[in-house]
């Protein structure tokens, strides 16, 4: 077709248009000085959080409400279980077995200086001694307590026979047990036997695993964030479209309502709504959804007002498009990209607000594993157990950061006004 080619000076330029998605992604350059990989990283993080939220049981070692160990275990720490330590040829099993007649030589028992094991030995030896005295058995337990600075010295002296026995922390001994085959442990002298420990993020005040609760809490955070954002989107988008396109009294009235909602401090409004509705997950979702409807409404209405004045809308009318066609085929697709970006940032906001509500005791019922609740519970012990609030706090921060970064990054890629060429 030579005639049309002649009219067409742009054939070689066609090649310039063949730029794929990946290339376009690479072309999105700066985001407040950071590079496109902000989007990649945040997308991976977001996907990760969603995965965790969908399959918490795959990752969390325990259930959200399971009591798995002693309370207030620091991350990685084991509870101290003071056990009797004797040579394998000894018959002693408990502290009581070391009791001797009144005039016999007092047994020598080694402990680590100043540790919880020394306290436990002193207290329990005295307790047993009092029982023996009052029971008129003729036996006494008044051990000669030898204090050691290091576990190895203690173990050496027990195995050499210098000491009858030692009282050591079970977990500490187990680390060195292979080097001392001639030693064995007896019973726990306190009766405390739970040795579970080494939790990644420690345990809380009732002995639940902080890490497991964190994982299960992701489910709540993502659920609240997404459902409330979707609900506000479903309300805000059509209302914004209608108000922007129809204009007039409808627009005025709706904008008045939305602006009043928007002018309210967000958390206070959510507090008011949940205070009226009562604490439950659905009420939190509803409260947050109400809170963010104006965000979508304003964005969509503003975009609609701008798009409606574009020449292509008038051109659409000139080819006989009806109002409904113009709204759904011309205005809606041109408005939706900015909504998608708002959505991501909005999810982050909703998670933050949901956690805030729970923190104030107005959100989830306290039985649910939720970051906000964990924060609220942990803040009472902030001076003794830093891990109770640090990890949920970090989790909230990371989720919010991931969603916000993804939203802003996408805006950078898809908004040509921000894109540098």
């Amino acid at each position: 077709m030579p005639a049309s080619d002649q009219n067409n000076p742009e054939i070689w330029q066609d090649e310039l248009q063949h730029v794929g998605f990946v290339r376009r992604l690479l072309m999105a350059r700066k985001w407040y000085g950071a590079d496109w990989w902000f989007v990649a990283i945040s997308a991976v993080m977001v996907l990760g959080f969603i995965f965790v939220a969908l399959f918490p049981d795959l990752i969390a070692p325990y259930g959200p409400d399971e009591i798995v160990g002693t309370s207030f275990l620091a991350p990685g720490a084991y509870p101290v279980v003071p056990v009797l330590l004797v040579r394998t040829d000894s018959t002693a099993q408990a502290l009581m077995d070391l009791a001797v007649p009144e005039n016999a030589e007092r047994p020598a028992i080694g402990v680590i200086m100043g540790g919880p094991t020394a306290t436990a030995l002193r207290e329990h030896a005295q307790e047993i001694d009092e029982q023996l005295t009052s029971g008129k058995t003729g036996l006494r337990l008044r051990p000669r307590i030898e204090r050691y600075a290091s576990l190895e010295e203690l173990l050496n002296d027990v195995s050499s026979g210098k000491l009858q026995a030692g009282v050591v922390d079970l977990h500490e001994f187990e680390k060195l047990a292979s080097r001392y085959p001639q030693l064995r442990t007896g019973d726990s002298i306190t009766g405390e036997t739970a040795a579970a420990g080494g939790f990644l993020m420690g345990t809380n005040e009732i002995g639940q695993d902080v890490f497991s609760r964190l994982i299960w809490g992701t489910r709540v955070a993502i659920l609240v964030g997404f459902t409330s954002s979707i609900l506000s989107l479903l309300a805000g988008l059509p209302l914004g479209l209608m108000a922007g396109y129809l204009g007039g009294t409808f627009d005025r009235l709706l904008s008045l309502v939305m602006d009043s909602l928007y002018a309210f401090p967000g958390l206070i409004l959510a507090i008011a709504v949940t205070a009226v509705l009562g604490p439950s997950m659905y009420n939190v979702i509803l409260a947050i959804a109400v809170l963010y409807v104006p965000t979508y409404y304003r964005i969509v209405r503003g975009q609609t007002l701008a798009v409606k004045e574009e020449v292509y809308i008038e051109a659409a009318r000139s080819i006989g498009a009806t109002r409904r066609e113009i709204l759904w085929r011309y205005i809606y697709p041109n408005v939706i990209p900015s909504v998608a970006i708002i959505f991501s940032v909005n999810v982050a906001d909703a998670i933050l607000t949901g956690a805030g509500l729970s923190f104030l005791g107005l959100g989830m019922p306290p039985t649910i594993a939720d970051w906000g609740i964990d924060l609220a519970r942990g803040q009472r012990f902030i001076q003794t157990a830093w891990w109770l609030i640090t990890y949920p706090g970090l989790a909230i921060m990371l989720v919010v950061l991931a969603f916000t970064m993804m939203g802003e990054g996408l805006m950078e890629i898809y908004n040509p006004k921000l894109r540098e060429r």
Partner: protein, 331 residues
């Protein structure tokens, strides 16, 4: 080209209701658009050309409104049709090409979708394949290669987009295309090609074109007849050769003299005195009288009507009204 009118505009008045008052952007306009002609509508910025063009399709939006008049398109009065009936006429029978091709296509739709959607909107029974085939055939005629149809508007140049706009109007064989300054944002080479295209399409499709422009050179090049607007009124209408060779209205004369011309030979270019009037408070009588070198007493009092002043040539000016000229001589 026949003498039979396709579209008769009778006493059309379009006004903008503003806070400062009612502005009549087109007042008491009557003219015919004849079948298969290219009618050029010229006038300076703000004289109401575009308002008139949109009102012809009832595309005006508030605060604009049609205050009165008839729009007789093939005998039907468009003013009496409902909005739905107008929708079925827009695109199918009357198409429009806008000034800025850069913004007159939906940025999120492919070119082919623009075309098929137009076809579907008016002929819902057409299958998708048929619509696509028709669109491709039409685009081919307009010099748009088939593989470019799957592109988005931002991937095309201004000239190409203007072709797409025209093809939208032609997709349903519109009888009349209202082109509102279609070449204003194009460079002269693309403009020339586009004007050639208009002429070819008129031949091939039997198209009638209303070409709204402020560029009198464009009109001279393609139009069969010319209508001249000044301050919301039609002041002169007639055959293009007649108007250019023998213009009657002082405004048209001034307009033609102020176009740069190779025969100027060093003389300074003519500059019309004064400014177009404020349409909120238009001057009484002939709107042009404050600037008219031949203004008479009657021009300040009475509004002139269009009078036949030559073969296929009408002008609204008291100078050519025998009674008025006489009264002036006596006075």
């Amino acid at each position: 080209m026949s003498q039979e009118p396709l579209f008769s505009i009778r006493n059309l008045t379009v006004e903008y209701v503003t806070r400062a008052g009612v502005v009549k952007a087109a007042e008491d306009i009557s003219f015919d658009i004849r079948r298969q002609e290219i009618l050029g509508l010229v006038g300076e910025s703000g004289c109401g050309k575009s308002t008139l063009g949109k009102a012809l399709m009832r595309l005006h939006r508030p605060p604009a409104r049609i205050a009165g008049g008839q729009l007789l398109f093939e005998g039907r009065d468009l003013m009496k049709l409902s909005e739905e009936q107008m929708c079925s006429i827009r695109g199918a029978e009357i198409g429009m090409v806008f000034q800025d091709p850069m913004t007159s296509l939906n940025p999120v739709q492919r070119i082919i979708e623009h075309l098929t959607e137009t076809i579907h909107a008016h002929e819902p029974e057409t299958t998708d394949e048929e619509a696509r085939a028709r669109a491709a055939a039409l685009a081919e005629k307009l010099g748009i290669r088939a593989e470019r149809l799957k592109e988005y508007p931002h991937q095309m140049s201004g000239g190409m987009r203007q072709r797409v706009m025209i093809s939208l109007a032609l997709a349903l064989r519109a009888k009349l295309v209202i082109a509102d300054e279609p070449t204003t944002s194009l460079d002269v080479i693309v403009e020339a090609k586009f004007l050639d295209l208009l002429r070819e399409l008129r031949q091939e499709f039997g198209l009638t074109i209303l070409l709204i422009t402020h560029n009198i050179g464009v009109v001279a090049e393609v139009a069969d007849r010319v209508a001249v607007m000044y301050a919301a009124r039609l002041v002169e209408i007639g055959d293009v050769n007649e108007i250019f060779a023998n213009s009657k209205h002082p405004y048209t004369q001034g307009l033609l003299r102020s176009v740069p011309n190779i025969e100027l030979d060093g003389e300074p270019l003519y500059k019309m005195e004064g400014m177009p009037p404020n349409l909120l408070h238009p001057p009484a009588g002939c709107r042009f009288h404050p600037r008219c070198p031949f203004a008479m007493e009657i021009c300040r009092r009475e509004t002139p009507a269009l009078e036949t002043v030559g073969p296929d040539h009408q002008a609204a000016c008291w100078l050519y009204h025998p009674a008025a000229a006489k009264s002036e001589q006596h006075g």
